[in-house]
Chain length 357, copies 2
């Protein structure tokens, strides 16, 4: 099960080893922009039913790989599976985002949280990982993932998505001990969750700190960064060829690249508001970098997409002594439902074809 | 009319002259969080009727000053008055944001744009400025403002607010000449608009580049920054005591502070994702700084608001050789309708009371 995959460019890039071309995958590559995804979603009846049924999660995970020569698969799941398994009751109101039946607003709420068992409450995730690995048959590596402690706490305190994060920011300022207690519980669960995904077969692990960038610097350094560092320090990765690198992605993490590069993570995922060359210079080659085309670039015609991809690739290589190694091409954030599959094909082809400087 | 105001701490801080305390005003200080604003809005019948009636615009401009000892007033208006006057037909759909009847998608659309006359189509703005100056009677200075060329173009191309700026970003990439032609027309109109506001009595001028931060760096430097620099270079400010300083505010402008400080503007407004001390160090005292408390801080209790305000004030002063001059306290973005007026009172009081290190 842990034999090296046929196409290991993704893992080699994360290890900063030479690669024949820059590998590419796209955040939310399995999603509503694909008609076959919408068909599976319709059959499943709901997003959650799809995410919680290993056969369906496997099916949609593999869909983009059947269309595009992507260099990695990412588990189809939701970042809120962990808080759901801690007892908050995840649901999706039609036409709205995710919601929780219960929220966390007090120390009593924190203490009432369950410690999820990875092979009972979250067994559907591990079963999906095992099934996807089997179906992938070594073709490309499989990425497991989790939300970051801060990002999960945002949903747990707000009760769902938020425009301004009023409740969790007020908690950070007036009840920091409560928030730290919550983040402690969530961090332990995230580490157990990622470790279980690796043991089930995930070959790389990504943490999505989607909302770290909404914090002022002194609060980011108190409530988001330390828990990312703790994950990087404590999370087992395995040994040798089976070692699963950790990627810390953060929207708005541009100001903190130096600190994140010193966390112990193998790679950083960055959004499109920092140039890749600048990110490479600031991180000094201590980590691999993943990113960072503005997803909106996919609304432009294929020739323009190819030009912008080349710009990002060249910007990285120029700052990396002319070498492509240490870079995994990706978007700076997830794809949107109104994007054209043909444009994704053009992007993947452009990245693979761009082998010169 | 241009006699120095009674309380000129705001203008002195922008000139980086000594001040007895750090002056404070708040973006969107006239707004729905005030019951008296909601009453005027109800009487006016619509937001646009309120903005386009000088007496009502004056009334809501002065409302927060009657409650709080703010150190500046800002003209109540909308950033979309200029595109409206260029012929796009601004309206507000109930419960939604601003919309335009016509959009700009082609060079023909750009060429069809009108050149607004400041004393006909935009006379209601200049009349409001004149009336507010008269009513203020020199108590505090009046700030005039405009949207930035890039930010106005976002609304003109998208036809209203946008989640992902798909259309204007595609235009930037595939039809840059069209977008530059649009930005040229808008920049000329913005300069004329700000100049007319100054001549009507505005004593400082702020440009809101609300959406510059959604661009990748190479596109920010092509489509937003040069037009901000052009405004800073070309906009007349007047002379001597009547000189009206220019403040460039930008959400997400953190990566570009050095470039903005070299633009020729007198001050930069920054959001809360950059620490004030770091901003002061990076701009080297070449400009005054305005900001930058996270607006969500206003959801916390008064004692916490005071603590966070003190942190920002001390962070600036520590990087400024211990002096408060050159800093105008503000939020890092606008206020929200669900904020408590009592918390605003606590913030203003805390800023004024914080005279030590």
């Amino acid at each position: 099960m842990n034999a090296p995959p046929g196409n290991d460019t993704f893992l080699r890039a994360l290890r900063r080893e030479p690669v024949p071309y820059t590998p590419v995958w796209l955040m939310r590559q399995a999603g509503r922009y694909l008609p076959e995804y919408r068909a599976t979603r319709a059959r499943a009846g709901s997003f959650l039913a799809m995410a919680k049924t290993p056969e369906l999660a496997c099916e949609v995970t593999l869909q983009p790989l059947a269309r595009f020569p992507l260099d990695a698969a990412i588990l189809f799941s939701d970042i809120l599976t962990v808080p759901d398994a801690m007892g908050l009751g995840l649901y999706f109101a039609e036409g709205e985002g995710p919601r929780f039946e219960r929220t966390v607003r007090s120390m009593a709420d924190v203490e009432a949280l369950g410690t999820p068992d990875m092979e009972t409450e979250l067994r559907y995730v591990m079963d999906a990982v095992r099934l996807i690995r089997r179906e992938l048959a070594g073709k490309v590596p499989l990425i497991g993932f989790s939300g970051s402690p801060w990002t999960l706490a945002c949903y747990m305190v707000e009760g769902g998505g938020s425009e301004n994060f009023a409740r969790i920011k007020a908690m950070a300022l007036e009840a920091p001990a409560t928030l730290h207690a919550l983040l402690r519980r969530v961090t332990d669960a995230v580490i157990a969750y990622l470790d279980a995904q690796r043991l089930a077969g995930a070959q790389a692990l990504q943490v999505f700190d989607t909302w770290g960038g909404v914090l002022a610097p002194h609060l980011y350094r108190e409530f988001s960064l330390p828990y990312l560092v703790e994950i990087a320090q404590r999370l087992p990765r395995g040994e040798g060829a089976a070692k699963a690198p950790l990627i810390l992605f953060g929207k708005g993490n541009g100001p903190y690249l130096e600190e994140l590069a010193a966390s112990g993570a193998e790679a950083l995922g960055i959004d499109w508001t920092v140039a890749l060359g600048e990110a490479r210079r600031r991180t000094g080659g201590r980590v691999a970098l993943q990113g960072n085309l503005d997803p909106a670039t996919l609304y432009a015609p294929p020739a323009v997409i190819a030009r912008e991809a080349a710009r990002a690739l060249d910007d990285y290589a120029a700052a990396n002594g002319g070498a492509r190694e240490g870079h995994v091409f990706n978007l700076g954030h997830g794809m949107s439902p109104d994007m054209a599959p043909e444009h994704v094909a053009a992007l993947v082809e452009a990245v693979h074809a761009h082998r010169g400087r």
